[in-house]
Each structure stands twice: as structure tokens, then as C-alpha cells.
Symmetry: C2
Subunit: 114 residues, 2 copies
DNA sequence: AGATTATATAACTACATGGTTAAATGCAAT
DNA sequence: ATTGCATTTAACCATGTAGTTATATAATCT
């Protein structure tokens, strides 16, 4: 899929973000990923499925385990969206700021003529 | 609130992202924000509430309208989280890449000794 | 083949989300 | 004070999400 809806949706959960942070340190099996959390293994399994659907990780069968790896292209897409909007906003803010300063200037000169 | 759960959750919807993109161009009333979309006004109103809860916008009463403005600190928080993880991943990837290259080198020298 | 381990799927519950239409609020204009 | 406009809230429906326990699958070990 790799839609922004899926990507951001996948990121909107503390456990899933923690899993990604863990995977940023290197690949891990499902059991290893589940260990730190106080939820059942099936719950983790479904979190991983969400991350996989969002194209944020890949799962690869290795022996009787499944090893998960980060797949950060989707992260980049999400990051790009945010950064682009932040940049637009900052430009806008700069203009607004300049405008307000201009107003301020006018007002303080007007203030004397009240 | 301003939790990452809320922030990413708010971003996980096409309409809400479009609203934010629109607001990056400047403030707008609810009606103006609703216009481009093929959904009812109450639906938009609730999207705005989600964005407000996520601390991504502020709504200010002005005459009989409500004007919305972007409030990008939360966007920055989300962006920072992604960027930090991307950076970790990229370092990791570089090390892995080097390691694989090293393996590759060994293997090709070994290849002759088979 | 049978037991063990690692993980996934099924069936279920509870709650959140996104949409609708209809009614309520708040402010403005007459 | 009444009408009208902009927006929100209420009530409802359908679907999605997060968790559980119990069961199934798949690979490994004996």
C-alpha cells in the first residue's frame, strides 16, 4: 500500500513506534520484539502486520522464526510530507510576522495622533 | 495532549492532511475549509476537533465564524521523531552495508579456494 | 512419527472513528 | 424580538482497532 494514511496510522501507536525504534537498532524476531511489552504475542503479531501493511517493515522466515527488518522508504515519505508542510508554514509565518511588525510600526506612529 | 499518538493519529487521514496543507497557506474559516470536500459540515467540524486535540491547530471565534490557524509545534515533534529514527536506521544501514561489503570481499577471495 | 518451539489465525469483546441527518447554539442583521 | 448564517452537538450506523484466550500451522529436534 504505502499510503500516507497507512504510514501515519501505523505510527499512531506507542507500541508500534517502540517496535520501530527497536528495529532501528537492528533486525529482531517476533519474540524478541514482544519481550519488552506487557501484551500477548498475538497482539504483537498484529502490530507487526500493521507495520508490514504500512510498508514500514518486512518479515522474513528464517528457520522457525520470523525476522523483522525496518524498511524506511515509507518513513521517508511521511517525513517528507511533514517537512514540506512545516516549510510552507514557516514561510507563511515569516510573512505574517513581517506583516504584523509592519502593522505594529504603523500603530505606534498612529498612536501619537490619537 | 500533544502526544505523538494524537499527532500521528491526526495525520493519518487524507482530509485532515489536506486541511493542514490548506492552513499552511493561511488561516481559514470552517466553511472555507469544508468547501473542497465532498463530506458534510459536521464531519469537517469533527476533523477539526481531532486536529485541535492533537494540538495541530487553534480555533478562534471571530464574529459568527470560527477561524482556524496552524500550530506547528506538534508537527515539529512528529517530524523530529521520524527524523531521529531515520537517522538511527541510516547509521545502522551504513554499518550493515559495510559489513556486507566486507563479507562479499571475503567470499570472493574464498571462492577461489573451493 | 511425535514433541517442542515460534508465530499466526480465529472468535470474541470493547471501544474508537468516520460518516450521515436532524436539532441546538451563538452571533448578527433587520 | 425574530430571522438568518456559521458552526457544533446529538443520535445513529457501519467499520476498524486493540486486546484477550484458544487453536492451528510450520519448522526443528529427538
Amino acid at each position: 500500500m504505502h499510503s500516507l494514511d497507512h504510514t501515519f496510522g501505523a505510527l499512531a501507536d506507542t507500541i508500534r513506534r517502540a517496535i520501530l525504534a527497536r528495529l532501528a537498532l537492528g533486525e529482531a524476531t517476533v519474540g524478541e520484539l514482544a519481550k519488552p511489552f506487557d501484551v500477548s504475542l498475538p497482539a504483537i503479531s498484529r502490530h507487526l502486520k500493521v507495520l508490514e501493511t504500512a510498508d514500514l517493515i518486512v518479515r522474513e522466515k528464517r528457520a522457525q522464526q520470523r525476522v523483522c527488518r525496518l524498511k524506511p522508504e515509507a518513513l521517508k515519505t511521511a517525513s517528507d510530507w511533514i517537512e514540506q508542510n512545516r516549510r510552507m508554514w514557516e514561510e507563511r509565518f515569516d510573512r505574517l510576522d513581517a506583516y504584523l511588525r509592519e502593522l505594529q510600526g504603523k500603530e505606534s506612529t498612529d498612536a501619537g495622533n490619537k
